[in-house]
């Protein structure tokens, strides 16, 4: 029953895009290597994590079929992510202040 209304998207396309994005992030780390370009440190980190985020979303939506699932199952992902954001900003003031000596 559950599999009946589960359409399978074009997985090959998703896989190609994922490989492309991975190549892109490797290129980024080679070009903006923090050892040589310390000033681009945060830019490189931002680009790398943005690419990772896009990849994760692609995998979740297509491979894990979140695009086609009921809202209940989408909540199983969104709720813990929300809590992680809360935890991050709850821990952050301490980590930055007490550790930077």
């Amino acid at each position: 029953m559950a599999n009946k209304h589960l359409t399978h998207p074009n997985y090959l396309l998703v896989w190609i895009v994922l490989c492309g994005l991975t190549t892109l992030s490797i290129l980024t780390s080679v070009i903006l290597n923090p050892r040589h370009h310390i000033e681009f440190r945060y830019l490189a980190a931002f680009i790398l994590f943005a690419l990772a985020g896009i990849k994760a979303v692609l995998i979740a939506l297509n491979f894990m079929h979140l695009r086609f699932e009921k809202i209940l199952i989408v909540c199983a992902v969104l709720v813990p992510l929300t809590l992680l954001i809360i935890a991050f900003f709850g821990f952050m003031p301490d980590a930055i202040v007490t550790l930077k000596r």
Partner: protein, 206 residues
């Protein structure tokens, strides 16, 4: 009655636990359980990752260390895992299309990808240890070994799960719709993949 036949009566005949023999929300129980488990897993790895990020923000000199990790093996492993994810989702598709032979092949390829990942990981660890970086070489290396090691344990678990699923669905006497089994094994495998996607920039690239 027709609805009951369509329901995934999986190997544990899960749905029949409900007294009227159906799911209240129209999702098989095994899948609900899997997602509940995964939402816990998201917090386990997420908690570790945000902690690592916080340490990293506090210690800008950490990028010196992440230059020491083996970006080559890390990148190759990314491709290995993405391909494994791709093959297991194809296996799920093949099961849905009743093409079981191709499904066996794809699950087998996924198992190979897991083993390949672990082999490359072992080479990588051996290299790091040879360079003199161990658990004691400071918090970056402790995080590196802790997080990638924990992830490798998950890859190993996923490989075992995939092997068990392959054995179960290739048995002659089929207990029910194998789609549910392959789908849930796949969900775990994709999750492991997603975690690696974030570990790559955290420890290897930036």
């Amino acid at each position: 009655m027709h609805q009951l036949e369509n329901t995934n009566v999986g190997i544990e005949s899960l749905e029949s636990q409900s007294a009227v023999g159906q799911s209240s929300v129209g999702i098989p129980s095994s899948k609900v359980g899997m997602w509940v488990f995964l939402s816990g897993e998201v917090l386990i790895f997420g908690g570790l990752i945000i902690t690592c990020v916080l340490f990293r923000l506090s210690y800008p000199q950490w990028h010196e260390f992440s230059g020491e990790t083996n970006a080559l093996t890390g990148s190759i492993n990314t491709f290995v895992l993405i391909t494994g994810s791709f093959t297991i989702v194809l296996a799920h598709k093949m099961v849905d299309e009743r093409n079981l032979r191709s499904a066996y092949l794809y699950i087998f390829l996924t198992i190979i990808s897991g083993l390949l990942f672990l082999a490359i990981k072992a080479i990588e660890y051996a290299g790091e240890i040879e360079h003199g970086y161990g658990f004691h070489s400071g918090p970056f290396w402790a995080f590196y070994y802790g997080l990638t090691g924990f992830h490798a344990v998950h890859v190993f678990t996923g490989t075992v799960i995939n092997t068990v699923v392959l054995i179960l669905i290739s048995r002659k006497k089929k207990p029910g719709n194998p789609g549910s089994l392959v789908e849930n094994a796949g969900l775990f495998w994709h999750f492991v993949d997603i975690v690696w996607v974030f570990l790559l920039p955290l420890f290897y690239l930036s």
